[in-house]
């Protein structure tokens, strides 16, 4: 372990951001983790105080502070509702990086982030092997939702009902596309994101179908890497920088007008974090990342902004299915997208849109939070499940693959016959 004095100095660099918290405690009203535990150390105010107190020598337990910081979904509900506008997410990610540098990365995370994620070809190979063998280790948990569970792997993954890895990852079918400007004269770069690529290729195919339908030219460069959020959330800035360098290479060229992703978390990471991480590389890298960030949009936002998405004229007769929408935190709270997916859903033929209660309450997934804090994650998730069921929906849609995994797990555990879809899947089906 390095010198704690240095740790305090590095944390003090956050002082100008930390000082804006006036300790009003209003974050208690929106934090899903606090609502579950009712402990001050789980809410933003409490965590900000701990970072501040560690920097100011009032406490001496960096390990415990890191534990508290890790017990957070990074959903951004606190920041979106903060009366003082404290940049909570920036502070938390920076503090996680500083504390991880001090404490060291856990061996498991080291293996995942530094050994695997940063080498996309190796990662892809590993996953494709996994997809071939997964049947041996797992058994079907819910045939309606197509989930699996695993007795053999339960020490690793608990009792999760998980979506199986895709037999053919998205990138096997679309390793690279470059189709000019299209008839709509819009050239769209497509960043599917890891989960879509490896578990939900149908979402990627739906995006391609929708873009082609509207006459967009598509630019899908070959060497895309993970957006880096799993590394950043674990405080591993080194891996995040490596991944970003690969992505900057792929997306600084291509001369596209817009970059779209069907993943709320990727969109938010690209828009808000890439420029900040790139600033650690070089001013040129920062400029490149900013150019990418400025052009990045969620797929629903893009479609609604550029095209008429009302397909209700295609309506067939027969009974309508009820569809509801879950707001991913990284769409609504992080980048303010919530009306656009609803506009698409309201224009779908054969569906009736209903709002669920607390549509913007976090599903509890939080990426690696789900891996480290499955019990809390599940309790938060079951609240979402109850709201979905209460809405009477046949289908719950969202705009984030991680939320899809979480809702699938929750609904599957309860054996509810509610389908989980990405909004773009329903849209593409209706075209």
């Amino acid at each position: 372990m390095k010198d704690i004095a240095n740790l305090r100095i590095t944390l003090s660099e956050l002082d100008d951001m930390l000082v804006n918290c006036m300790r009003c405690g209003m974050c208690q009203s929106v934090c899903p983790v606090f609502r579950d535990s009712m402990l001050e150390g789980d809410v933003a105010r409490g965590k900000l105080v701990l970072i501040d107190s560690l920097a100011k020598r009032m406490i001496d337990s960096p390990g415990e502070v890191k534990d508290r910081l890790d017990n957070c979904l990074l959903c951004g509900s606190c920041e979106a509702n903060c009366p003082s506008g404290v940049k909570v997410m920036d502070i938390f990610i920076k503090a996680r990086i500083v504390l991880t540098n001090y404490m060291g990365l856990s061996p498991a995370k080291k293996a995942i982030f530094r050994g695997t994620l940063v080498h996309p070809r190796f990662f892809n190979g590993l996953v494709s092997m996994g997809s071939k063998f997964q049947g041996i280790m797992t058994s079907e948990a819910d045939s309606f939702l197509g989930t699996s569970c695993s007795k053999i792997m339960s020490p690793l993954i608990g009792d999760r009902h998980f979506m199986p890895l895709a037999k053919r990852p998205f990138r096997k079918d679309h390793s690279g596309i470059d189709s000019g400007k299209g008839t709509a004269n819009i050239r769209v770069a497509f960043y599917p994101g890891c989960v879509v690529d490896k578990m939900l290729p149908q979402v990627g195919h739906a995006v391609i179908k929708a873009l082609e339908h509207h006459g967009c030219g598509i630019y899908l460069p070959k060497k895309q890497a993970c957006c880096g959020i799993p590394s950043l959330a674990s405080g591993d800035e080194e891996s995040a920088i490596k991944l970003l360098k690969q992505n900057l290479k792929a997306f600084s060229k291509g001369n596209y007008d817009v970059l779209v992703t069907p993943c709320a978390t990727c969109t938010s990471t690209i828009k808000k974090l890439w420029p900040k991480i790139a600033a650690q590389i070089s001013p040129e890298a920062e400029k490149k990342a900013q150019r990418i960030s400025d052009r990045t949009m969620d797929i629903s936002e893009f479609l609604v902004k550029h095209f008429d998405v009302d397909l209700s004229a295609h309506a067939a007769s027969g009974k309508k299915k009820v569809v509801t929408w879950h707001d991913p935190c990284h769409l609504k709270k992080s980048i303010g997208v919530s009306a656009e997916p609803r506009a698409i859903l309201k224009g779908l033929p054969g569906y009736e849109f209903v709002e669920m209660n607390e549509a913007d309450y976090c599903c509890g997934n939080g990426g690696s939070f789900n891996l480290q804090h499955y019990d809390t994650s599940s309790r938060i998730g079951s609240r979402k499940r109850d709201n979905i069921i209460a809405s009477g929906a046949d289908v719950v849609t969202t705009g984030c693959p991680a939320c899809m995994m979480q809702m699938t797990d929750m609904l599957s555990q309860a054996h509810d016959n509610v389908a989980v879809k990405h909004v773009i899947e329903l849209y593409a089906d209706a075209l």
Binding site: V19, N20, M22, R23, C24, G25, M26, Q28, S29, M38, L39, E40, G41, G46, V49, L50, S53, M58, I59, D60, S61, E64, V65, R68, P83, S84, G85
Partner: protein, 460 residues
């Protein structure tokens, strides 16, 4: 310090997970929303039943351990900052609404019920719990009672004390003391409930509280009046009251606040306006129409340059959005925000507003003033950076000037935020040494070892 044996006893009573002594948790309960230095407690206790709460207090009493009870920790005067080597007792595991009685219009609650949750549960039964402190989304009802919290509706509906019918609470020996009743009338015994309200945890620890509920108003109407002169705005306030109209809400905003709100929330406020009033009247539909017309007339008479009456719910929300945004808008301007609440008789509002301008100019400080003009409870909000020692010294002196100003007009140190630690030193200035000594005698009689939230209200 708390010995290992005593900690063990607490653990036996409350269960290990409800007794927290690690450094990080102790740091997490060392502060509240007041701009004051944190004090780390020795232990944090979280009882989850009446029995556990009573037993914890009894043990504190027996061993002379200072105990500070904490709900959501939103106190603005340091009332929930613990005492050195003392314990913090959390009430948030006791958050059940025990009963909402629609026929007799009362409710019984545990201490940790969140105010907004309670108001919503009451509304779902077609009844109304009016107190609406700014922190109601997180604040707890016991905290509201302990501080006698107010809110926007104080003018017409009163504050928390007007809704407390009775309670039971634990004394320092852990005995359950019952006071008040579920009846509209009740004169049995000393009015100890009255004493417990605003006692800031110094006289006992709430267990269950009985609250009065009322029927909700059937109609309401709200408007915004814009002024080119602060004096005319504040004179309108006095004139509305003098005309025997009691709006449910009558809020004031000065030019500094107007500009901050507009910059932040873009709700279309005129940047050059010197002041604005937000007024809502409610009650029977006929009365509402009548009152609203009279209020409009008065505002015109005092040269309001523009009066905007909300036509529907959406417009009404827009008007209130401006008020709701006030604190956020000011908070974003500077790192530290000192939210004052010295209060004056409402007829003195014009003098208070001009006095605050003098204070701001004297010290060269940014002070945004907004608040409950109708009940004389303004919130002069000083914006600063606590890290700047010179500026902070000026702020502290300016706060004293504000107290002098309010007391000079026959006002009071605190309208709704409490005395806590922040204002304890000024008590004698308002009530005099004799009264303070009387308060201390009461405290000594019920808490001879001085373990219940020591240092608050009456000082050490």
């Amino acid at each position: 310090m708390i010995s290992g044996n005593l900690k063990k006893e607490f653990e036996n009573l409350l269960g290990e997970k409800n007794v927290m002594g690690d450094e990080v948790t102790r740091m997490n309960y060392a502060y509240d929303a007041a701009v004051l230095d944190p004090v780390m407690p020795a232990l944090v206790l979280r009882p989850d039943s009446s029995e556990q709460l009573g037993a914890a207090i009894r043990l504190c009493g027996e061993h002379g351990v200072p105990a500070t009870v904490r709900g959501a920790g939103t106190n603005l005067s340091g009332g929930t900052i613990p005492y050195k080597n003392g314990v913090v007792i959390l009430t948030n595991a006791m958050n059940k609404i025990i009963e909402i009685n629609e026929v007799d219009m009362y409710a019984i609650v545990q201490p940790g019920v969140v105010t907004a949750d309670f108001a919503a549960a009451v509304a779902a039964k077609g009844l109304f719990y009016p107190p609406d402190p700014g922190s109601m989304k997180v604040s707890t009802l016991a905290g509201n009672v302990a501080e006698n919290a107010g809110g926007l509706r104080g003018l017409k509906y009163g504050v928390t004390k007007d809704y407390v019918m009775g309670m039971d609470f634990f004394d320092v020996e852990g005995n359950l003391i019952k006071t008040g009743s579920k009846t509209v009338k009740g004169v049995t015994g000393f009015n100890v409930s009255g004493l417990m309200i605003a006692s800031e945890g110094c006289l006992g620890v709430f267990n269950e509280i009985t609250l009065k509920l009322i029927p909700p108003p059937r109609a309401s109407k709200c408007m915004m009046a814009i002024y080119d002169s602060v004096a005319e705005a504040t004179e309108s306030v006095a004139a509305i009251i003098a005309a025997k109209i009691v709006p449910c809400t009558l809020e004031f905003m000065d030019n500094f606040t107007i500009r901050a709100v507009e910059d932040y929330a873009k709700v279309g406020l005129p940047l050059d306006a010197k002041a604005l009033l937000l007024i809502e009247v409610d009650g029977h539909p006929a009365e509402v129409a009548d009152d609203a017309a009279k209020v409009e007339e008065i505002c015109k008479k005092y040269n309001a340059r523009d009066i905007h009456v909300a036509k529907d719910e959406a417009e009404k929300n827009k008007v209130w959005e401006a008020r709701r945004a006030a604190l956020s808008a000011l908070a974003k301007l500077k790192p530290t925000l000192v939210l004052e609440d010295a209060t004056v008789p409402r007829s003195k509002i014009p003098d208070m507003v001009s006095g605050l301008d003098v204070v701001a100019a004297k010290y060269g400080l940014s002070i945004g003033t907004f608040g409950h003009a109708g009940d004389g409870n303004l919130h002069p909000t000083i914006l600063c950076d606590r890290r700047d020692e010179k500026e902070w010294h000026k702020v502290e002196t300016a706060v004293k000037d504000i107290f002098d100003l309010a007391l000079g007009m026959g006002g009071t140190l605190s309208g709704e935020h409490g005395i806590g630690i922040a204002k304890a030193g000024f008590m004698a200035q308002e009530v005099g040494e004799q009264s303070l000594s009387y308060f201390r005698k009461i405290k000594k009689a019920v808490d001879p070892k001085g373990i219940l939230n020591p240092g608050k209200v009456i000082g050490d």
